[in-house]
Symmetry: C3
Subunit: 278 residues, 3 copies
């Protein structure tokens, strides 16, 4: 059974809230996409800050509207900073979003991912099928940061992990599935060119964090964020004619146009069902 | 009383000097804007180098035309490297420019900023109102790296801090003010889209460093650099129609066009008064 | 004597191989160009991963199709990670490419470069004349990461170093020379605008790594990669009208168009002679 989720109306309200308050989105993220995710945060109307010194992450995270922990280029000091920031955000009631980049690709990344799940209470997790499978203990193949094969059921996996973690889990791919353990959203926006530019998964996570900063319910917020970013990708693909450099530039233009109300929120394909395991 | 500062003539001479000598601009900077500030340095005709290992920063800084210390993503090793590089630059007579990104946002950043002011003799400091207020001991509110509120007088603050540090202080905002403790420059170039792309403050600092590499007087050099970068922002905004991705690309195009003499240095709004506190 | 090397045919086959297998290109690289080299890898049809924690680099490098060690922002932990990854790649038979960014600019960089040459067996080295001269023990002047003067013979230097290291050595400049110690390739593709955007040397190294992932002979693979990237630069310059921001964007578009078969592999200027020292 599908609820009638008015995703455009939901997004319009949330984006207005974000524009009015400019929530701080604290990222502890990989060194590949720092600039890109900061710019995406700005396109969505929020205020990015990148800070990863253990000496300051607790103070910074406590002031934030949301915290992103992205383990794309992990190393021991960053791992400590992510744990400390995550716990501080938990104490302050700041929602924390995990992007388990490359979990499963090396045993170190897998350990970092599992440690984060143990020490931090997440509001949402977003990854590709192989990364989420690594968290859920399911079989999958990952090479570097690319999901190579996963033969399971993404919706069931998202739902099971969401239940056990008590948070929203998003598995992104051709169709994104998002579960809070009870309900399931399917987002069929997006474009294959998103796979031709590095960091678009990290940007999707940033979009989720910005929407979570505007409050619960997180299932709707996460699904709407993925719909918005996917729609921006579709429009960027239209304008850029399949050229990845131009597509990258247009991704900011189109995200900003949608978020600022310069382009209509039309074409969102986000559906919510009750019961992800059903 | 306003001096008749021919900013276009000043810039034309300085840019020719830079093009002929390609001064090395050594950056120890945050991980968000390394690529962006390196590219801006190239657009201005200078040669960027990013180096932050304690083992090499003194040797690198000593060869430079100017050194940028930008504390946007500080951590202990980087803090040590910035201090060591700054002292080496001081010994070698290389001008050092401070960008106190996020000073005041966490107590760690505030400590780093004050330590740098104690250990290094700066030629110029550039920050937003809240960052400079943190250095000057004035009240302000900062969230992440955004100045949220400052109710004081930027010109008086710049002048006071310039006097106490013995250097040029630039407070950038809708109108930039630059003081050497005696004279004050006001730069009213710029565009609000500069706030929609991350790292444009850091790029403005890089522009100041490139101009300082061409020699004294630093008040004129810093003000002219901010005028040039602001003018590039205005032209980029014109061309890109308010789209932040395209604006980002155009910012390099327009800076390069102005610096290389492909576009006229027209529309600079830089005025110098004697006596910033008067 | 010049062999009849059908570079377009060679590239077409290799690019098809890469597109079919999407080899993982593991980079341990500088923090300035991580995003740029990841995107170039994607444009060429391969899969980038950036990983530099000592705890994971051996495992990651062993799975890779090629490993890039780029010392653009070296520091002790990164130096250790590069050595460990390089040795692991050697054990696993994964080709390793060195980009000795700034070798000779500081004594620390020179030490790192020489240590890497001692501990790791490279399949290819790519640098500018001054960087390669530093490795070869020849006289040259470097400032930051720019080759300022080298009065020797690049072809002789490449050939001599290739012989002593037992690998392919590429010296890039107005004309690139590539030697395997016996034969010499000259690549006269490229455009001066490549010097106006940071990281284009690093991108050229990434292109070499992608081609080496497709197998031997490495002389042809490295020369073809440099020809392809130089040709993309020429086309990007045509389209972007000398504007560096637009040129940067077009560099991805044109590389992708050539690699994906959307644009013809015409205009490659790659010649191979037997006997680089002759």
């Amino acid at each position: 059974m599908s609820e009638d989720f008015n995703v455009a109306g939901f997004l319009a309200e949330r984006l207005e809230w974000v524009a009015a308050r400019r929530p701080l989105i604290h990222h502890i993220t990989n060194f590949v996409v720092m600039n890109e995710t900061a710019n995406l945060t700005l396109c969505l109307g929020a205020s990015p800050v990148m800070a990863h010194a253990t000496a300051e992450v607790e103070e910074m995270a406590s002031q934030a509207g949301a915290l992103v922990l992205n383990m794309g280029t992990p190393y021991p000091e960053l791992e400590e900073a992510m744990c400390a920031a995550g716990r501080a955000a938990n104490r302050a009631g700041v929602p924390v979003v995990l992007d388990p980049v490359g979990a499963g690709a090396t045993s170190y990344r897998t350990r970092v991912a599992h440690r984060l799940l143990e020490e931090v209470r997440f509001a949402a997790v977003r990854g590709n099928a192989a990364e989420v499978a690594c968290l859920a203990g399911e079989a999958a193949e990952i090479r570097g940061v690319d999901s190579v094969s996963f033969s399971g059921d993404p919706a069931g996996m998202a739902s099971g992990l969401a239940s056990s973690l008590g948070c929203v889990v998003a598995v992104t791919g051709a169709v994104d599935v998002v579960s809070d353990g009870v309900r399931l959203a399917r987002v069929s926006n997006g474009h294959e060119l998103l796979g031709g530019v590095t960091g678009t998964g990290c940007m999707a996570t940033t979009a989720v964090a910005v929407m979570l900063a505007s409050g619960e319910p997180y299932l709707e917020a996460a699904a709407a964020a993925l719909g918005l970013f996917g729609l921006a990708g579709e429009r960027a693909a239209d304008v850029s004619g399949g050229r990845p450099g131009s597509f990258h530039v247009e991704l900011y233009n189109q995200t900003h146009a949608l978020a600022a109300g310069h382009a209509p929120l039309e074409g969102l394909r986000v559906k919510i069902e009750d019961g992800g395991n059903a």
